[in-house]
């Protein structure tokens, strides 16, 4: 029963949401600290935006939905950015401009839109999506930091120093690693779907 609920909440998440959020997922997955910082920022902004949009959707006329939603989301992202600058300046500097651009990320906008459209579990879907994106970012960051920079959480790994592939830590590596990670998810998802069909 729990599995079914989770699949329902994750419906459409793996491919579509990763495609929409590919920008910030790749930008922040070059190291673990940045990935965790971005993951937290995405998760908190998604949760807060879902809460507020669910509460305010009835008062926002249809023609003003896009600007209203975007400005609400941008407000939260700005607050998170300021808090990060104050408490985690290193992570904020690592994320740089990408932290601000999550305000106009299609993934957060669409989740907010879903909440406003009367989704029954807006907080749950926002939470699941945020956690899912954070896990993807962390897995990609772990691979990229280990192979591309021969380190984990900024700590150098001695035996990898002579074998590191710098390109993996760069832009190309982001696409390559994310492609492999999504391919693995596709494989696991299709295997599970086949099992479920066989059970029926």
């Amino acid at each position: 029963m729990k599995t079914n609920k989770l699949s329902e909440l994750l419906k459409g998440t793996p491919s579509l949401l990763l495609m929409l959020g590919a920008g910030f997922v790749m930008a922040s997955s070059s190291n673990l600290q940045a990935a965790l910082g971005m993951g937290a920022a995405v998760l908190i902004s998604m949760l807060l935006a879902s809460l507020v949009l669910t509460a305010l959707c009835k008062f926002i006329p249809a023609y003003a939905q896009l600007p209203a939603y975007l400005l609400i989301i941008t407000g939260f992202v700005s607050i998170i950015g300021m808090l990060m600058q104050a408490w985690l300046p290193d992570v904020a500097n690592m994320l740089g401009i990408h932290l601000a651009t999550i305000a106009v990320s299609a993934v957060i906008y669409r989740k907010g839109e879903e909440s406003a459209e009367g989704n029954i579990f807006p907080i749950n879907t926002a939470l699941v999506t945020g956690v899912y994106l954070t896990v993807i970012m962390l897995v990609s960051a772990l691979i990229r930091e280990f192979i591309g920079s021969a380190s984990i959480w900024g700590q150098p790994i001695e035996f990898m120093a002579n074998y590191k592939i710098s390109a993996i830590a760069g832009a190309f590596g982001g696409y390559l690693v994310l492609a492999i990670v999504t391919a693995i998810i596709n494989k696991l998802t299709s295997a599970r779907n086949t099992e479920e069909k066989e059970d029926k």
């Binding site: 590919a22 920008g23 400005l71 305000a103 299609a106 832009a171 982001g174 696409y175 596709n186």
Partner: protein, 186 residues
């Protein structure tokens, strides 16, 4: 500003520092694009216009109004982009039979906001040249990616797990590699 500097900004913004794929600010917009090559070209052209107008306005606002309230930068810049896109939509609706969704995509595009934030620190002339160059780079990327995506119709030749998003990401990655190759030859 010398000719070499202008050429440098143009080449860097179009290829080696392409905002859409290399800096991955507009990666979502490029990967999500399912339009034909011709419509992708129009989308890129529209984005270039939005980038140019938004950069000019946000540069002026950042230089003269937001000096003491820097924390409002993101909020004001998003608002400017929204207004520019809405005015363009009103104008385009009268001239062409256009789709509202395309205009939504101009707004929900990290490349536009990212460019506005990056250009705010430059001189006005540099900001305008950068906006044009980045716009051309985005247009080129969207169009080439749409054309490449058309060739991916032979999905049977691709392993099942790599169909869909993974192969799209690999295609974009190869484009990035080609763009970065130009960084070293310049």
């Amino acid at each position: 500003m010398t000719f070499e500097m202008i050429l440098g900004i143009l080449l860097a913004s179009i290829f080696s520092e392409n905002i859409a794929l290399v800096e991955s600010l507009g990666a979502g917009a490029v990967l999500e694009n399912h339009r034909s090559t011709k419509r992708s070209l129009l989308l890129g052209l529209g984005t270039t216009v939005v980038m140019l107008i938004s950069t000019a306005i946000t540069w002026a606002l950042n230089s003269y109004v937001l000096k003491n309230v820097a924390y409002l930068q993101t909020l004001v810049f998003v608002f400017v982009v929204l207004v520019v896109v809405e005015l363009m939509y009103i104008a385009a609706k009268k001239l062409f039979n256009c789709c509202k969704y395309d205009f939504v995509m101009f707004t929900i595009n990290g490349a536009v906001l990212g460019l506005c934030v990056q250009s705010a620190e430059l001189t006005f002339v540099s900001a305008i040249i950068t906006a044009i160059a980045v716009g051309i780079g985005f247009m080129l990327t969207t169009t080439v990616y749409a054309k490449l995506k058309d060739t991916l119709v032979y999905q049977d030749a691709i392993p099942e797990a790599f169909r869909g998003l993974p192969i799209s990401l690999l295609t974009a990655g190869i484009m990035v590699l080609a763009m970065l190759a130009l960084q070293f030859s310049l």
